[in-house]
Amino acid sequence: MNRTITSRLWAIIGVGVAVIVGVGALLMFLGRGPGELPPAPPPVTLTQADGPIAASINGSVISQSSWGEAVLLDQVLSGLAGQSAPTPEETLWRLIDQELVLQSTSEQEPTAEQVEAQITALQQTWGVDESAVTAALERVGLKRAVFEQAVGRLLKVQAGLATLTNQGYDTAAWLEEHRGGADIQIFEGAAALPISTAQSPIPTMSVPSPPPTLAAAKAAATPTSAPATAPPIPTSPLADLEFAPDFTLERAGGGALTLTEQLSEGPVVLVFFQRCG
């Protein structure tokens, strides 16, 4: 089985349903050449997102809050499935891929019974019961309704992929074509700051950067005496870490925190967590 196709399927479907669709869906990806592309979807008016926007796809938006929910859900489902969780970036690109499929197909909403049947099938595959799923969701503050909505969306995407396959498309090639032709923008915070454009090749799910040197961090590990006069705090990422680079980030519970403002109240211990939740 083609490894690229397998990973592409995971990218579109996500961990939960990928486990259950298994061989059947993978077969849909095999042996098909790219057919004539369907007509472009009608222009979509930018919908009003509930809060800051994470990405927009041909005008449809994915809010940061829904992205965050998807990341949490991926972590929960990955844990239940015994898989490693995707990175937040991978989750965002999966949502974008799903949106591209949904924009180009018009599948019916799955019924509540279909969603529940899918959830039951997932639980059987994972070897867990309903209470274990509920507990795992509650641990990260998610309600079961979020899980149900995600499964419903995945079923709809799955149906859309099946339709494309029946129309003769190689869904992997179809997705590549549509990613290239779509107006996809990823936003940094609430500000429109596209970091990916329609002209870009398919972005990798995760963009690992070379590990930065730790020399500067180690050099700063030795306590030093405070200067007589307060120097300006550098804001450049290229700071040698003698002084703490300033930043402003959104704070859980509302508002934002700026390091320099926090320092006016006293020393600060910055703790970077590798994982959260």
Partner: protein, 84 residues
């Protein structure tokens, strides 16, 4: 103390609700701060390495520790001893 993680805000908020943490929990989803402090993606995992920076009121980093793996963290008492 200020905690940061390379995750979306909603995820950090979920942790805040679960843990009841009262200190600031910050979301660094595009890893701007993690990169500025040189701790992003050290383990090729697109996350921040567990690390601690003690910053005095002049903005000077007076002590820091960057974990060598995901579970490598300094003891709380060690951190407290570094406070200016």
């Amino acid at each position: 103390m200020v905690a940061l993680a390379v995750v979306p805000l909603a995820q950090v908020d979920g942790v805040r609700k679960v843990t009841g943490a009262t200190f600031p929990l910050l979301a660094d989803p595009v890893h701007r701060a993690a990169e500025a402090y040189g701790v992003y993606n050290l383990f090729n995992d697109a996350l921040a390495a567990p690390s601690v920076f003690v910053v005095d009121t002049d903005g000077r980093i007076v002590w820091s520790y960057v974990g060598k793996n995901g579970g490598d963290r300094p003891d709380e008492r060690v951190i407290l001893e570094q406070l200016p």
